[in-house]
């Protein structure tokens, strides 16, 4: 794991510099802080120039919008604007947590995300490993294209396919069930079926595309490792377990941390297309709740409060995952 210079290397020089600074301070007069920063900038200015576009992007698209987050604590009127709307403290949060449907949505969000992680995260890795074992190039290319395809289809179409596939009269699923003598089930109105259908659809749609990252990581594994393993008489199965997986483990962990950070951002447009009042019980998530309550009802301040809460939870999750990973695998995002 420490063979990946991107992650472990970053911490190295900083530590060395500190040690260097400390010993130097003891030895002679210490250069002022400003001087040191100036020297550093002069020496490394090209790096900082290269950083500017990213900083601008962050500032414009991520930091500036944060200004608007304050409406979560305000009685917001579009016409009065963000600054002129009066402060009301945590009232919107109290409204949210006093609402059973919000709590239910929160519960559903966590459950659906967890299922998504549990079943959805390993799939692209398994796919990538399977692709890696295919020897015939033409077959590999075709298979890859087929599994990538759903990623490029709009959610509306996917929802249409799902609704048709699970239709009690004409759907392929009920047709199969009919062959083994099961009565048709009206899946999309049954709360107990919503989560499996939703999570399954998500995997079908995205697993192929997500496997690209792992394929790239596998491609980066040094062939010499396999060559020496072959000389040692290792089987393909052993090579996968002893070489491929350990080599791409840092990638897997980074992807996992990122994934945990995005965990609460369920593709809610898909839920809106698939859910019904009859399935709200298991299908209504924070984002769809915000959509119904906030956006459709014009309560932007309340929607902002719910969104902010979502973001805070996601932040805590990603921090936790990062810390755990740092401690046990010494791979981390920062």
């Amino acid at each position: 794991m420490s063979n990946d210079p991107n992650f472990t290397g970053a911490a190295g020089p900083a530590t060395e510099e500190l040690i260097f600074d400390a010993s130097e301070a003891r030895r002679a007069r210490r250069p002022s802080r400003i001087q040191r920063v100036g020297d550093h900038l002069r020496r490394e200015w090209q790096l900082y120039v290269m950083l500017i576009p990213t900083i601008l992007w962050l500032a414009v698209f991520l930091y500036k919008p944060m200004y608007g987050l304050q409406i979560a604590f305000k009685d917001y009127s579009i016409f009065r604007g963000v600054a002129a709307s009066p402060w009301i403290g945590f009232e919107h949060f109290q409204t949210l947590f006093g609402n059973d449907q919000f709590l239910r949505a929160l519960k559903n969000t966590i459950i659906i995300s967890f299922y998504g992680l549990l079943f959805g995260f390993p799939m692209p890795i398994i796919l990538a490993l399977m692709f890696n074992e295919i020897l015939k190039q033409s077959f590999k290319k075709t298979a890859q294209t087929i599994v990538y395809l759903p990623h490029f289809i709009s959610s509306v179409i996917i929802a249409g396919i799902v609704i048709t596939a699970f239709s009690p009269s004409a759907g392929i699923v009920n047709t199969f069930l009919g062959w083994i003598g099961v009565e048709p089930i009206y899946f999309l109105t049954k709360p107990e079926w919503f989560r499996p259908i939703f999570v399954g659809t998500g995997i079908w749609q995205e697993a192929g595309f997500q496997s690209i990252v792992y394929l790239a990581a596998i491609a980066g594994v040094s062939p010499t490792l396999y060559e020496s393993a072959v000389v040692d008489g290792a089987s393909r199965w052993q090579m996968m377990w002893k070489i491929t997986i350990p080599s791409i483990l840092p990638t897997i962990i980074i992807m996992l941390i990122i994934r945990i950070g995005n965990m609460l951002e369920i593709s809610f447009e898909m839920i809106i297309l698939l859910y019904q009042p009859a399935t709200y019980e298991t299908a209504d998530v924070v984002n769809t709740f915000i959509y119904r309550q906030g956006i459709q009802g014009g309560q932007y301040d309340l929607a902002a409060a719910a969104g902010l809460f979502n973001a805070v939870v996601a932040f805590v999750l990603v921090m936790t995952a990062n810390t755990i990973s740092k401690r046990y695998s010494r791979t981390s995002l920062w």
Binding site: I78, Q101, Q276, P277, A278, R292, Q293, G297
Partner: protein
């Protein structure tokens, strides 16, 4: 010409001075020198004030209006790259830089919310003093004037006022009825018998029991069946709305009649009389079920549903899908719950930054004059229509162009969502014969009921409503679908259902609804 307009102006000035409302024509042109006013006009057919949203061109109607009134509308529409008018309106309001006129789709809510905050000009006095045609129209329809008021009692926009009565109707496969020797059902028992016959007696004659007796495109249309047990599904032209019962605003889903009505719907659903896939079939239900010769009865729009008789003439032998009168309810009442709403939340308003409110209201008034209304409805005289025996008649090339007449009008600049009174003669001319027959049939009885045109909440009322109602509605719909689908029995669950509604704040919502209602309609 110049002399003439000067005389007109003098007359206008004179009548204004002695404060007697003049007839509309004497106002024209409204200004001596051309006056440019900027406009936001965002509506489904065009995002921008120009043919199809192309603001580099002028509507033919706008050219004539400029000539007549000397007011030149200059496009300044926000959010032209989005079709979502809510988003466009928010963008416009958030910039704070409002054009002189703000118009388009669904402006009532924002205008009535931000008008009292100072974003829009109250129109009451302006209409009273400078808009004789608008005033005359609302003098005839005081309830609509009440309905467009904001919570401070002022009116902030001039609405688009649709004409025509009917929207959706009951349709049945007459050829199926004939094949089984049945009559169109006249009451709820006969309706049940017909649906059972459709289910069991193979009216499409393919030897398989694959018929779907009653189907709908939007699942909420199933709820229209509630009216057969004297309950209601909604009070307005959108689903799940409050209605006025004995002078008090209530929600239909908290009434006793609803319990019995829904229990029957659940029964019919279980018996297979209602499309088992009604909740997911969606907008293609009608195409599919009629095209495959499977659907027997529906509740849907007059005009478009009649169209299937032509579209499926060759595909389904003997296809004859015609409107029938709403069946009488259990208590013998015959109503058609769905109708066109007489006032839309669309139209136009004057913003605070407009330096010419008087000229603007006079301009708004022009579209309520006879001449202006003809222009707004039919387009330019001599180009798309002629006056024949005192009635506007479309030219043949418009009626037989193969393009729907409304689409043609949208490009002319007619039927745009400006504030104007629509004229049903426009639509009647291109309504199909089968639909016309249906409308005439519906006209034989007094089927329509009053619509609840909504209330404008003040800030406190709005807060109460926002706090409670969205969750209540979610709960109502969850229970409703569950009961129809057979998980739970409404008769058994009813008491706990009402108890939960009350716990969720239903009474508080009713209270603010009714206080707003009384303020607005002087109840």
């Amino acid at each position: 010409m110049r002399n003439l307009s000067l005389t007109m102006l003098a007359t206008t000035a004179l009548t204004a001075a002695i404060a007697v409302p003049a007839s509309a024509e004497s106002h024209l042109p409204i200004t001596e020198e051309p006056l440019e006013l900027t406009i936001h006009m965002h509506w489904p057919r065009a995002q921008g004030y120009g043919p199809g949203g192309d603001t580099s061109k002028l509507y033919p109607v706008e050219e004539v209006a400029r000539e007549k009134t000397n007011i030149h509308l200059i496009d300044q529409t926000s959010g032209r790259n989005t079709k979502d008018n809510n988003e466009a309106m928010n963008l416009l309001l958030a910039t704070g830089d409002l054009p002189d006129i703000v118009g388009g789709n669904l402006i009532k809510q924002p205008v009535n919310q931000y008008g009292p905050e100072g974003a829009f000009v109250p129109l009451n006095d302006l209409v009273e003093d400078h808009a004789p045609n608008i005033k005359a129209w609302f003098d005839d329809h005081p309830e609509i004037w009440d309905a467009i008021k904001a919570y401070d009692g002022n009116v902030y926009y001039i609405p688009y006022l649709p004409d025509g009565k009917y929207a959706r109707a009951w349709f049945v496969r007459q050829d199926w009825l004939d094949a089984l020797g049945l009559e169109a059902p006249d009451n709820v028992e006969e309706l049940y018998d017909v649906l059972v016959a459709f289910r069991d007696q193979d009216p499409n004659g393919n030897g398989v029991q694959d018929e779907i007796p009653f189907f709908v495109r939007d699942w909420e249309e199933v709820l229209r069946l509630l009216t057969l047990w004297d309950a209601r599904s909604t009070g307005a032209d959108v689903y799940h709305q409050f209605y006025v019962k004995d002078g008090r605003v209530v929600h239909p889903y908290a009434q006793e009649a609803y319990r019995d009505g829904l229990a029957n719907i659940a029964q019919w659903y279980e018996e297979g009389l209602i499309d088992p896939e009604v909740f997911t079939r969606g907008s293609s239900a009608r195409d599919y079920l009629l095209g495959e010769n499977l659907g027997g009865m529906t509740h849907d729009w007059f005009a478009s549903t009649s169209g299937y008789n032509v579209a499926l003439e060759d595909k389904v032998e003997g296809f004859n899908f015609i409107p029938f009168l709403p069946p009488k309810s259990v208590s013998g009442v015959r109503i058609e719950e769905n109708r066109r709403i007489p006032m839309k939340p669309d139209g136009w308003a004057i913003s605070y930054s407009n330096d010419h409110p008087v000229e603007t209201i006079k301009y708004f008034d022009y579209w309520f004059s006879e001449e202006g209304a003809l222009l707004a409805n039919f387009g330019v005289e001599g180009k798309t229509w002629d006056m024949i025996d005192g009635a506007p008649v479309y030219k043949d090339e418009v009626l037989s162009s193969g393009q729907p007449v409304n689409s043609q009008m949208y490009l002319e600049g007619a039927q745009v969502y400006r504030g104007y009174p629509q004229d049903y003669r426009y639509e009647w001319q291109w309504t199909r014969d089968s639909a016309r027959k249906g409308i005439e049939l519906y006209d034989t009885e007094d089927l329509l009921i009053e619509q609840f045109l909504g209330v404008a909440f003040n800030k406190e009322e709005q807060e109460v409503y926002d706090r409670y109602f969205p969750s209540i509605q979610t709960y109502m719909l969850e229970r409703q679908q569950a009961w129809i689908l057979g998980s739970g029995d409404i008769q058994e669950d009813w008491d706990s259902y009402i108890e939960t509604l009350n716990k969720m704040g239903y009474e508080e919502v009713l209270e603010v609804m009714n206080s707003a209602y009384e303020r607005q309609y002087g109840g």
